[in-house]
């Protein structure tokens, strides 16, 4: 698999979440994703960027154009050094929220992505990686 060098974006304000959506959109278009697939990865990115901001206390997202077996795609890696998630299985459940959300962000973005990876350590932070292929 080849990976173009990733671009890093800070997520510190709710305006940054808007920028993340726009940058993901540009990359999804460039990777040749169809309209529905673009919409799915932008929506997943919006959910994860908001989590990074609201629960992770801010962080970063790395956006990569990837290619494997002749297929192109977009990979997004959200990372924060916030409080971490104590019970990932619970956090992934549709409807579970510790805040004011609908509790659909993590489960929903797993459904919207082709690949989903989450790693979190209490007191150290959280990392979520999603990939959408053309």
């Amino acid at each position: 698999m080849t990976t173009a060098e990733g671009d890093v974006f800070a997520i510190r304000t709710s305006q940054d979440v808007v920028i993340v959506r726009q940058e993901v959109r540009a990359r999804a278009v460039k990777a040749g994703l169809g309209l529905v697939d673009q919409t799915k990865i932008i929506t997943a990115a919006s959910e994860l960027a908001r989590n990074t901001l609201d629960y992770g206390g801010g962080g970063t997202v790395v956006m990569e154009a990837i290619e494997a077996n002749g297929r192109r795609g977009v990979r997004l890696t959200f990372e924060d050094h916030g409080p971490g998630i104590a019970d990932i299985e619970l956090a992934m459940k549709d409807g579970y929220t510790s805040g004011q959300g609908l509790g659909l962000g993590l489960g929903g973005s797993r459904r919207l992505a082709n690949e989903f990876f989450i790693e979190s350590r209490i007191g150290e932070g959280t990392k979520v990686v999603i990939t959408r292929w053309k």
Binding site: S46, L104, G107
Partner: protein, 129 residues
Amino acid sequence: MERIPILAMGKALLITIQVDMHDRLALALEEDLTNRIASTGARGVLIDISSLEIVDSFIGRMLDNIAAVSRVLDAETVVVGMRPAVAITLVELGLSLTGVKTALNVERGMALLRSQCATRRGTHDHRRG
């Protein structure tokens, strides 16, 4: 801070969301709209989202909230113009927007609002009669 404009059209309020809203802007809209319903006595709210490229759970919750708050203030909310790709994504995300009435476009949305006000008027007449 910028705000999303709310237009009065007869007994209805019309909001056309044309920007990629950040979360505080969405919250401000919810508040502005609630105040406007209360001050104008509007019976219907039409939210045109045909420009929106995505609806995530935050915007979905905003739409649900607006519909719920309007209902309490005796106004109906109709969301119009959702793009097909947005509808597909919304369902996969897990959002069903069951509390929100939808219509294909502004005309149908207005017709729906009118028919609903009429039902109520009918009911009122019946009660009075």
